[in-house]
Assembly symmetry: C2
Homo-oligomer: 725 residues x 2
């Protein structure tokens, strides 16, 4: 008998996911040790290759022959699972590297999460694996699982064995990973892969997203995140992957982390949480608030088609739950449409007289399994209906399983209906009816009608996101980026990091075609009077300074100055205030500009987060909006379609759209202005902060214009976020 | 042996809750009939008196001797459970009345919920029981349960037998009642009583609240509401009861029910949902969004003391769940305080080195049951901590039950700790650990950390509500209610229902001491010019009409008119606009008033809802606030403390409190004005709508003043809301 030819050595992440053979270091005879648990899981998980314990002191562990050292391992070992004390890990990984092993999973804790010493140890480990082109999961993790039957790798020490399925999950918390695996098992949610990334010293969530992007066994990706190691890379990868497969994410992390000490409105508003929101929106990742919501949505997305719209029909055998479900649907932005007259007639013919045929369709108390079987296809085929939620409350007379089976049959009987999502809720039942549990045509079942509504809303959001035009980042050929560069370079060379002067600001805005109110910088009150006299109408006189940015806090904005007296008085008032504060030398002079026509005042801003990169902000002007936090944030690059949605996403947009009989404002001009600020952010990384406040939007056709600006330049910092918590 | 003396006949609701003997009408031999199910439940439920089936065609049902008719029942039957077709119910109830039976439960459907005929039938039934001072539950209900061991009455046909306990529940939906009973059973939540009120033809939720108010077996009341039969009675009763016992309510009912066609801002804002919110806030009823939340909160309130504040300590054996829980706590308005240095030191001494001792306290992966036992009392006794949430994720090594037991022991070991609430969460576990299930010192256990945080937030809200001063409804001795009555009567007598004239409005506001801008009503432009000339500064000229109420929609407000020309131009513009619209005859004239000093503009309104009664509204002025829906609503009577909280409850209140260096506004004057409008609402039921918009609030010490007013009078309608859905 000739030896089976050795399959080729897997490369990259495949060394972790598809090893030919696996070794476990640190598996002692103690059955409660992490290494022993991991070894047993690999063995019981039915791994298709050999599992070899490495232990210099035992001939066998868990009845499997052990080898004494890494060096003694056979050549087809591609993955080594390491569960030894932290200070012993490095030499083992070094031996693996020497032997040419492609992957390691370091379960051991005691690295960056524990101490400064651990942090250094982890850095050395990372350098070691990177120097040898190995891939490493962990340290400080729960392990990795690949349910592909050709591999059947369960290299975790979690006490639960998940079902195989089509959902891949990455968790930054190992402990939560256990809970996640338990919950998935309980909900019959099958996994294609699970990775506890731990401290992410090498393999990160971004790597896994790329790996699962084309994995034919993965339809849906779940992420539990505590931090973004590299948000800019995440932005690129997740945005691409989310077009192909749904990505659901729970992002944990304390919300009250404190706002940045702020030099502009935009910076004050751009709290870390807003960066995360903008990032997830940018990428099309569906953010869910809790693990419970993530599982509820995953159960739906894993098994049912996406809805084509947000119209839902509810089928129930009791009024109360129907109302609760309708409430929940509407509060999630779903709509309960009227059914087609034809559907109404068909229901009437099919159902007992007691049934109420409006939406929710209430079969009423004596409803039978047959009623569900008859009614469901009619609802699924109504073209006004994009999804159906079927509710059932047992009064003891009807058997739950028979209703569950009837619902499944009703769905099968519907021609077009299998292209629409169906959700069920069996109130007051323990667990999922057996008839609905996981199989090829699994129908998700929820404990409360509200959970079903929430899950459906997630699916609708994803469908809407997929349907909406991506748009293009416009070329803006009139942008003079080189001029912009020169202005910024010049300012940095002469004064270093800080705020631009009024002239520099105007020139920079002009270079990017960002409309703004032209003003004259006057060094004295006399110059200001002369400049004002040259204007047609009344003038605005403002304090000019590169250090004092909140002009209105310094009585530095004087509107509607008519005549020389008014202008001199304004200048005198500004000067007096600074003199009183002992800051006269910060007064560069006064800017004089014409009064702008009336319009709707908005705020357009830019803030460069050291980790997330440039963040655009948009909101209405004025203090009320700031109190209400009605602002929108987006990452760059910004497409035209996304800029339009950005404007449309704030509640206050009604003011631009003819609220209470006001004229329509020039939204296209505002969108163009936003796109130009985004372009500026892309071209000039040294521009760290822009506050155009207000940007006045005139009547449709008359444009928009920044009436005041503050622009800060500096050296762009790129700060990685803190590692996994 | 002498016969036991017959106990006295119970009266009122006691005939339903504590009958001496019970009869069931409609119990056939069919074991799936509702009557048979109800009979079996009564028998199996261990009712302490006799249960007697009434059936003319059978000598026994379910092995119990039947009697042929109501007339043949023994004299100690106080309650008859009726499950016959709807058209047969009336004669049976008539027989009960004739026999002097005090209570009936009508399970039968086919009444007001079904048809106009059923509605008439239900009305006759109500008249019948009321004429004989009987009490009736239903029709169209699931029945009633009293778990008092002296009674042990389960007169429902639900397939589940609840545990006895200290929670009373009323449900307006029978079907949901089944789900409620199932879920309560599953969560080990014990019930003192349960009533499915059905169509509420006689016994209502209000009656039950009054009954449970002094029921020594009930600590907590749960309500599932679809409608308020009599919201004004609910306001009085629930407000009283909620001081003694927590009331949790889920209020279902479509949110998009459409806003009223509106004659004022206040009316437009006073959507039905806002009435419900105001009512529940007024009463101190804790509103929860979903049944799941209701049970989560009930499990906490039923078994644990109320927290003294909103500071929570988290104890965990894993970082991730700790972060999730901290996030959830903060998003619910709870606070994670720093622990006392002494607590920190004690934890350090008690715990292994790997533990992280900040809050959340992370025992880290190898945590044992002993660690929980040692750490928990230290956290519970920290005076900075008002409540503790203990989380546990099993990695398989430690037994869940041993941790659950240790948590309970840890709590017992704490001296002061038993006065603080303790919540647990065993992630990824099925069901509640046995050690924590229901008993005298039951500790609630949640499936997800977010549920625990939400439940705790409910308890904190209740504790805060109990602690906050009720305040008093001020006497306002200067109010001339009689003058007000006369103005309203006079307007109604001369013009019928409609808007008051500017003069009437000013006189009415003056009678109640509501400060307002005095204006002069001028019949012509010449009069207006003269009136303006008499003022010191510029004038405001406005359209005066009793039919055109949205003056600004008609170019009817001209501010800052200086000089005769400006005033005439304003009058001409107003007239021209009305002439152009063919509505010249609606122009009463022009009001002329001085310009008010600057201040913060707010809106104070009153709207009389036909069902809920007078509803006060408060918000900031201006369109932005309206778009943001940042308004507060309250019912009358309004206490001084509540009026202060009303002002403080909107986000925009910062504008009154020195936002961005602005002077403090005269909040006390605003509160006084609100109290006077509330008084007007109490005194004058014919005032159906008041819109003071804007009410300008000046600097502290300078008062507040209504700059414009619209007041509508009419005949107060009192419309009962639709019956149970």
């Amino acid at each position: 008998m000739s030896a089976t030819p050795l399959p080729p050595r897997p490369t990259g992440l495949d060394a972790l996911f598809r090893p030919r053979a696996v070794a476990v270091v640190g598996a002692s005879r103690n059955p409660l040790s992490v290494g022993h648990l991991a070894l047993k899981k690999l063995l019981n998980g039915g791994f298709r290759g050999a599992v070899i314990p490495v232990n210099p002191n035992a001939r066998s562990i868990a009845s499997v022959a052990a080898v004494a050292s890494i060096e003694a391992l056979p050549d087809d070992v591609d993955l080594v699972v390491i569960a030894v004390p932290a200070d012993k890990v490095e030499p083992i990984v070094a031996s693996c590297a020497k032997k040419g092993i492609g992957g390691v999973i370091v379960l051991s804790a005691g690295f960056a999460e524990a101490s400064a010493e651990g942090k250094a140890r982890e850095a050395r480990l990372r350098d070691l694996v990177r120097a040898h082109s190995m891939r490493m999961v962990g340290p400080n993790c729960l392990g990795l699982l690949n349910s592909d039957p050709d591999v059947s790798l369960d290299a975790t020490f979690a006490p639960v064995r998940p079902l195989a399925g089509r959902v891949a999950m990455a968790s930054q918390s190992g402990a939560l990973g256990v809970a996640i695996l338990e919950t998935a098992r309980e909900l019959d949610l099958g996994l294609s892969a699970f990775v506890s990334v731990g401290n992410k010293a090498d393999v990160s969530g971004n790597d896994l997203l790329e790996h699962w992007e084309d994995d034919p066994r993965t339809d849906l990706i779940l992420l539990y995140l505590e931090s973004f190691g590299n948000p800019r890379r995440f932005a690129t990868i997740a945005r691409r992957v989310a077009r192909k497969k749904p990505i659901l994410a729970v992002k944990a992390g304390r919300t009250a982390a404190g706002r940045r000490a702020a030099g502009s409105h935009t910076a004050a508003l751009a709290a870390p949480e807003r960066c995360v929101e903008a990032l997830l929106r940018h990428t099309g990742v569906t953010r869910v608030a809790t693990l419970e919501e993530m599982f509820d949505a995953a159960t739906l997305l894993a098994h049912q088609p996406l809805p084509r719209g947000h119209r839902v029909a509810i089928l129930t055998n009791a009024g109360g739950p129907g109302i609760l479900c309708a409430d929940a649907c509407e509060s999630q932005g779903l709509l309960l449409p009227e059914l087609l007259p034809a559907t109404h007639r068909a229901l009437e013919a099919a159902l007992p007289q007691a049934a109420s045929l409006a939406n929710p369709v209430d079969l009423a108390a004596p409803a039978t399994a047959d009623d569900y079987r008859r009614a469901l296809p009619l609802l699924l085929e109504d073209p006004h209906v994009d999804a159906v939620i079927a509710l059932f409350v047992s009064a003891g007379v009807i058997d739950v399983e028979s209703v569950a089976a009837a619902i499944k049959e009703g769905r099968r009987a519907s021609h077009g209906g299998r292209t629409k999502p169906l959700l069920t809720c069996f109130l007051g039942q323990r667990g999922i009816p057996a008839a609905l549990s996981s199989d090829a045509e699994s129908v998700p079942s929820y404990r409360f009608p509200e959970s079903a509504a929430r899950a459906l809303a997630c699916a609708v959001r994803r469908a809407e996101w997929l349907a909406q035009p991506v748009g293009v980042v416009p070329a803006l050929p009139d942008v003079e980026a080189k001029t912009g560069h020169a202005i910024v370079r010049n300012a940095l060379a002469h004064r270093g990091p800080g705020w631009l002067t009024p002239c520099e600001q105007e020139n920079l805005l002009a270079a990017f075609g960002i409309p703004h109110l032209r003003s004259t910088l006057c060094r004295s009150a006399d110059e200001a009077v002369a400049a004002a006299a040259a204007l047609e109408g009344p003038a605005v006189v403002k304090l000019a300074s590169t250090t004092i940015v909140h002009k209105s806090d310094w009585n530095g904005v004087h509107l509607n100055c008519r005549g020389a007296d008014a202008v001199s008085r304004a200048c005198a008032a500004i000067e007096a205030r600074l003199v009183a504060a002992g800051r006269r030398e910060e007064l560069l002079g006064y800017t004089v500009a014409p009064m702008a026509p009336s319009g709707v005042d908005t705020l357009v801003g830019l803030f460069v987060d050291p980790s997330f990169g440039p963040l655009l902000a948009f909101g209405l002007g004025g203090v009320t909006t700031e109190l209400m936090n009605d602002t929108a944030f987006r990452l760059v690059p910004l497409t035209d379609a996304e800029a339009q949605r950005m404007v449309g996403s704030i509640k206050g947009v009604e003011l631009l759209r003819g609220f209470r009989g006001a004229p329509l404002a020039d939204e296209p001009a505002l969108v163009d202005l936003l796109l130009r600020v985004a372009r500026l952010a892309s071209e000039l990384p040294e521009v760290l902060e822009v506050d155009l406040n207000p940007v006045r939007v005139f009547e449709r056709g008359r444009g928009a214009c920044a009436l005041d600006a503050r622009i800060r330049v500096g050296l762009p910092e790129t700060k990685p976020l803190s590692p996994a918590g």
